[in-house]
Amino acid sequence: MHPPTVDNQSIYAPRSCRLLAVSKLTPQEKLFRLRLEDGRELNHQPGQFVQVSIPGLTEAPISIASSPTCKGYFELGVRKAGLLTGALHQLQPGAQIGIRGPFGRPFQLEALLGKQLLLLAGGCGLAPLRSLIQYCQKQSSAYSAVQILYGARSPQDLLFKDDLEDWQLSTNFNCRYTVDQAPASSCYDGETGLLTRLLADVQVEADNCCAVLVGPPPMYQPVISALHRMGLNGPQQIMLSLERQMRCGVGKCGHCTIDHLYCCSDGPIFWLEEVEHLRGAL
């Protein structure tokens, strides 16, 4: 074995990170604020992800929920689903974890410039989209309009409630959200129904609009159909994020392949036309 060194000689070597803060988003999700131990910035772009490493539990891909415009830290929104994410949820501020990345093809920011943006998120998809929203917030004049539509399963599953409120109050954004179902017992008084219902009364200039979709697999087909009906039929009009088992992040382990593509390095952000013909992609 080589003696441990700071400059990692391996594409598989995690960098040490310190957990600065943890906040609860929902009963299942927490937001983790982290800083690289060497003091450097992560230097990511919206839409990228990192591999979080906990010795003994290997790694899990987590999308970055904060904008690169936030300096001195980055944030990860994590749902408790497997062994690693379960362990992550147990950690307290001050804990040390490993990070590899950032990885993946980000949102195609240049293609969005000057466009009306339709940012659509379902479920956990709001976490990666948040990094784009925060980014847009910093340079709102670059876009002609930004509409944010978000759907969650139930009121208690709504992520980033404070952010949603901010975005609703912001003059730069038009932000709406909905829940599939609100139990009678909840004090939720917002909109209910699927995301496509919110889309029904959205007005856009179809030719100058670009939609960005991040959500669970069942969301894509209905939302894409709705966008087509709204006239978003051209190339580079619908950008989406695909989720697969990205184990290595560097196109080697093979767990995230979609036909000939590697979701981790060719994606996770794709233009619809790059993947819609590939079996099993959507």
């Binding site: 074995m1 080589h2 003696p3 441990p4 990692n8 000689q9 391996s10 594409i11 598989y12 070597a13 995690p14 040490s16 131990e37 490493s53 010795p55 003994g56 539990l57 290997t58 790694e59 689903a81 497997g82 994410t85 040390q96 974890i97 490993g98 669970p216 697999p217 989720e243 697969r244 088992q245 184990r247 290595c248 560097v250 196109g251 080697k252 382990c253 093979g254 767990h255 995230c256 392949t257 979609i258 036909d259 000939h260 593509l261 099993g280």
Partner: protein, 331 residues
């Protein structure tokens, strides 16, 4: 450069190589399994015979491969390369093609350091010509090795395909060109397997294989994962951590796309959630997806998956069945 080696020359060459390299040579193991094993100078070499049981690329990408160690402070230590590089002798044309495929895959940016620690500096020595079972003819290599030994009657024509290879061969006697010409002549017309793969590939690219076909093939699969594990171009792996006191050893382990959990997500969602989808993926990836990405088949027609499949649904068997059912002349 063309040289000719008799048996004594061959032994001399191997001895020379073993001074500088960790030389692996084909041998017959206890039950007759033909496989590469460390050169001792004493054990009998198996200079003709069936395809090597374990894929030679396993020396560079083994079933279990340490990636790194992590200590409790998060500091990382990466394994050191061995003092001597590997030399693999006895590789046939398909073995070499498989290594070439993996080389390109693992060298693609960002380069895979774990693979390269074994691969860099390694010497590949092909063994082709009349070196098959019962001295039958084995296709010549595409030159993707350092030295190629072409077996002819009681000797070997030796070709140096790289500067390292040429240097090792320089002191041996000149070879007989007419014998090499004869071997090259034999080499033409050994394309039957790739014709079959070509046809099968076309069917997949044109999407002419219905789901029902994959269901029927998948019904015969007993989920052993052997087809993936023996494949010289399969590169999928999963990662395993083992905590030993202060140190966590992180290793990668050969994985198989034929297993349900290969793509299953923590949520339970699985893009490859049925036996049929997984079986299709195994064939489609090699014959269609790899063609799209790398410009060539991911199958080098080594025959290993057909031999190791307990139920007869290896690559060649499936390709044959596919072409029979949907190939030229079928509706």
């Amino acid at each position: 450069m063309l040289k000719q080696l008799n048996r004594a020359d061959l032994d001399l060459l191997l001895t020379q190589i073993s001074d500088e390299y960790r030389l692996q040579v084909p041998q017959l193991l206890a039950d007759g399994t033909r496989q590469l094993a460390g050169y001792t100078g004493e054990a009998e070499l198996s200079l003709t015979g069936e395809v090597l049981q374990r894929k030679p690329s396993a020396f560079f990408f083994p079933q279990t491969q340490r990636l790194l160690d992590i200590d409790t402070a998060g500091a990382v230590a990466v394994p050191q390369p061995a003092e001597k590089p590997l030399a693999l002798f006895g590789l046939n044309q398909a073995d070499l093609a498989g290594i070439r495929f993996l080389d390109r895959f693992f060298r693609a940016a960002p380069a895979d350091d774990a693979y390269l620690r074994q691969r860099n500096g390694a010497l590949l020595i092909g063994l082709t010509g009349m070196a098959g079972p019962d001295n039958c003819f084995l296709s010549l290599s595409a030159g993707d090795c350092d030295i190629e030994l072409v077996a002819v009657k009681e000797s070997w024509l030796a070709l140096g395909h790289s500067s390292d290879g040429e240097k090792l061969l320089q002191n041996f006697p000149e070879g007989d060109k007419t014998q090499l010409v004869r071997m090259r002549h034999l080499n033409e017309g050994t394309a039957a397997e790739s014709d079959l793969l070509q046809q099968a590939s076309q069917l997949l690219i044109e999407d002419r294989v219905p789901d029902q076909f994959w269901m029927e093939i998948a019904d015969r699969c007993i989920l052993c994962s052997g087809c993936n594990l023996v494949c010289p171009t399969c590169s999928c792996f999963c990662v395993q951590d083992r905590n030993r006191g202060e140190i966590t050893e992180r290793s990668r382990v050969w994985d198989s796309c034929q297993l349900d959990a290969f793509m299953r997500e923590a949520s339970g969602h699985n893009p490859l959630g049925t036996d049929a989808l997984r079986t299709r993926r195994r064939i489609h990836h090699k014959l269609a997806a790899d063609v799209e990405r790398w410009g060539e088949f991911g199958c080098v027609a080594c025959g290993r998956c057909d031999r190791t499949c307990p139920t007869g649904i290896g690559m060649m068997a499936v390709a044959e069945e596919m072409v029979k059912c949907f190939g030229p002349g079928k509706p």
